[in-house]
């Protein structure tokens, strides 16, 4: 997995609550058997009209946000389905960090598996960063995972909380499966215990 350490980039403001996974990547793009190439269809139904032309007003179509690497969004981001296509599309577009007051559980988890940092911040702080993001491409925000800080374009520093295990995995770019396989003895002894306690499983 790709590491996440520190990032300075343009932040796109998306002040919408309950952004669901159908908005992030509609189901017609789930027919792929690959992880790559979904970025062009990120937010497809908001980003393109019925004829496939770009909607000029949509934030990621505006010239100043085309290379955004950070997304600032509303409450309950990523609700809905478990599709990992959502973080794949976000990453493929080039966004590596999301800042929002809260996330849906599965989406939040999925981010970490793909080297995306989802930051949780109180509403007022998200509001402040949203304002900052609205300034466009001159306003670059810095996210530092090591120090758990976000620095706005005018130098204001915000702290955020982060689960230490997830932080460690993201900083090191660790592969979960490899880590777990190191515990294969523990898994085997669990299985032999379970085989007597719950043989019907």
């Amino acid at each position: 997995m790709e590491k996440f350490e520190k990032l300075t980039g343009v932040a796109a403001p998306l002040p919408v609550i309950n952004v669901d996974t159908d908005m992030i990547i509609p189901k017609q793009f789930l027919k792929t058997i690959k992880r790559e190439g979904l970025g062009v269809n990120l937010f497809d139904e908001m980003r393109y009209d019925d004829n496939g032309n770009e909607v000029p007003d949509f934030v990621l179509n505006k010239p100043q946000y085309r290379n955004a690497e950070i997304l600032v969004a509303g409450d309950n981001f990523g609700c809905g389905s478990s599709r990992e296509h959502a973080p794949w599309a976000i990453k493929d577009f080039g966004i590596r960090c999301i800042i929002a007051p809260s996330y849906a559980d599965i989406f939040y988890n999925n981010c970490f598996k793909n080297g995306i940092l989802p930051i949780i911040m109180p509403q007022e702080e998200v509001d402040a960063l949203m304002k900052d993001a609205e300034k466009g491409s001159n306003a670059r925000i810095t996210v530092d995972l090591e120090t758990q800080t976000v620095t706005s374009s005018d130098g204001e520093v915000f702290k955020f909380e982060m689960d230490p295990f997830r932080k460690h995995c993201l900083l090191e770019g660790l592969d979960d499966i490899g880590l777990t396989m190191n515990r294969s003895d523990e898994i085997a002894s669990f299985e032999s215990r379970a085989a007597t306690e719950r043989p019907w499983v």
């Binding site: 509609p26 792929t32 599965i106 999925n110 499966i177 294969s184």
Partner: protein, 474 residues
């Protein structure tokens, strides 16, 4: 021993390892796999030269993409869908999984097939690359959706890295009124908690109204726990559960049945267990519900009217404006005046035999209103066969419904069953998100009987109005 919730008990029974910070490795008893969220996981496995750790605990079935028209036996026309199905076929065969291909009568929506075949049992941990895995919680199994990377993790290790959620109790006291169903319970709960109200929690549903539900109804309730933001929904197993499981193909038999039963009977929340959050609703206060917006929390009794965005606060004001705009609705319109053009009965929320019976009950001797497209998509081939045996398919077809083969169908419209832009659908599924049933399509969620009533009148309808004993066809 300190008192535990049902969730605590299942968690403890599956703990392989726990780090100091609470990060835990949980053993997974059942892994359900479908064609959309698994190809990349199998590909990852192959690339790393890994095997499936426990193929006997892994169940694969195609459902999301499959056409539901009879011509599907001749092959699937959409190339991308076909490639996904072929990939599942190859993966299931090569890795030796329990597999129900499209041609098998047991094929259906993964969350209907699992319980039907007795794969889902009380006290188990069940995961699937699909958020509605919560459905299996109806058996007192800890069941939740995972992403594709986690699918790969479970395939390779039969475990999942987790941290523990909080405990939330949702109690529904008393008895449901006529015309009110499990679907209305689960919608009403989301109406109260909001779509983020359960975030970070596992919900246990309790109370008289829940205990009185059949397994089908309990599955409907738990199915939508995820729509309330919860990681999983649970209902403690009881005689209704055991009765349902007994004799199913993969349920324990003989001495193992007795051993299993003895353990299952210990699976309940202790009286003085700690709850981080408690919500209580009276069953008598729940009316047949419909959604008006683009989030499952946008729900009201059918007797209500489209709300004004200004009646909300915070970010919800903008969200409600956007929803009304998308849905093409005006604040103040009585919900029962909203005209529909499509009816969809099916999905893992309401595609089981009891759901079809309830809808057929309303449709008996009635006709779908002219100009309305109505379809029933049974949740599995076996549900379909049973419905045919009971004469339900005949009632549906005589009323003017299309009678389809099993699959997810218009619940998410990945197959050809889709709404056209602006079309409005009375649906028994679980999500009314923008574009969920087709780009620009408008979805109103409700129970099967409410959807049947809407098919008859051509508008959102209080099913209780059709339940009076005057069933003469108009």
């Amino acid at each position: 021993m300190s008192p535990k919730t049902l969730y605590d008990k299942i968690w403890d029974a599956h703990l392989v390892h726990e780090d100091e910070d609470g990060t835990s490795l949980l053993y997974i008893d059942r892994h359900l796999v479908h064609e959309v969220t698994s190809p990349q996981a199998f590909e990852g496995l192959r690339m790393a030269g890994r095997k499936v750790h426990a193929p006997d605990k892994t169940i694969a079935v195609p459902d999301h993409n499959v056409p539901t028209t009879p011509d599907r036996v001749e092959g699937i026309k959409n190339e991308e869908s076909r490639i996904q199905l072929e990939a599942l076929d190859k993966n299931a065969t090569e890795f030796g999984l329990n597999y129900y291909p499209v041609t098998d009568i047991r094929q259906g929506i993964v969350h209907i097939v699992g319980p039907e075949q007795g794969w889902t049992l009380p006290g188990m941990t069940v995961v699937c690359g699909d958020s509605h895995t919560a459905t299996h919680g109806a058996f007192g199994a800890l069941a939740h959706g995972i992403g594709t990377s986690e699918v790969e993790h479970v395939l390779a290790t039969q475990t999942l890295i987790q941290s523990k959620s909080k405990n939330m109790k949702v109690e529904i006291t008393g008895k449901l009124q006529p015309g009110v169903t499990a679907k209305d319970i689960t919608l009403a709960v989301i109406g109260v908690t909001g779509t983020a109200g359960g975030t970070g929690h596992v919900i246990e549903y309790t109370g008289e109204a829940i205990r009185s539900l059949s397994m089908e109804g309990r599955m409907t309730v738990c199915n939508m726990a995820i729509e309330g933001g919860a990681r999983a929904g649970l209902i403690a197993p009881d005689e209704t559960t055991f009765e349902y499981i007994k004799g199913r193909p993969h349920a324990p038999k003989g001495a193992q049945w007795e051993q299993a039963l003895a353990w299952w009977k210990t699976l309940f929340s202790d009286d003085d267990a700690h709850w981080d959050k408690v919500i209580t609703l009276k069953a008598e206060d729940i009316a047949p519900c419909v959604t008006w917006g683009t989030s499952p929390e946008d729900v009201l009794p059918i007797t209500g009217s489209v709300p004004a965005p200004e009646s909300f606060s915070g970010g919800k004001v903008e969200a409600a404006k956007r929803a009304l705009d998308y849905m093409g609705l005006e604040a103040g319109t009585p919900l029962s005046e909203i005209e529909i053009d499509t009816v969809f009965i099916g999905s893992c929320t309401n595609g089981r035999i009891e759901d079809l019976r309830a809808a057929a009950e309303i449709l008996k001797g009635r006709k779908v209103k002219d100009g309305i497209r109505a379809m029933v998509v049974p949740g599995s081939g076996l549900v379909r066969a049973q419905a045919e045996e009971e004469g339900l398919s005949e009632i549906f077809e005589q009323a003017g419904f299309e009678w389809r083969l099993a699959g997810c169908s218009m619940c998410l419209a990945m197959n050809p069953d889709q709404l056209a832009p602006g079309e409005r659908c009375a649906a028994t599924s679980n999500r009314n998100f923008e574009g969920r049933q087709g780009r620009g399509g408008r979805t109103h969620l409700m129970s099967p009987q409410m959807a049947a009533a809407a098919a008859v009148t051509g508008r959102l309808t209080d099913v209780r109005d059709l339940m009076a004993p005057v069933a003469e066809p108009a």
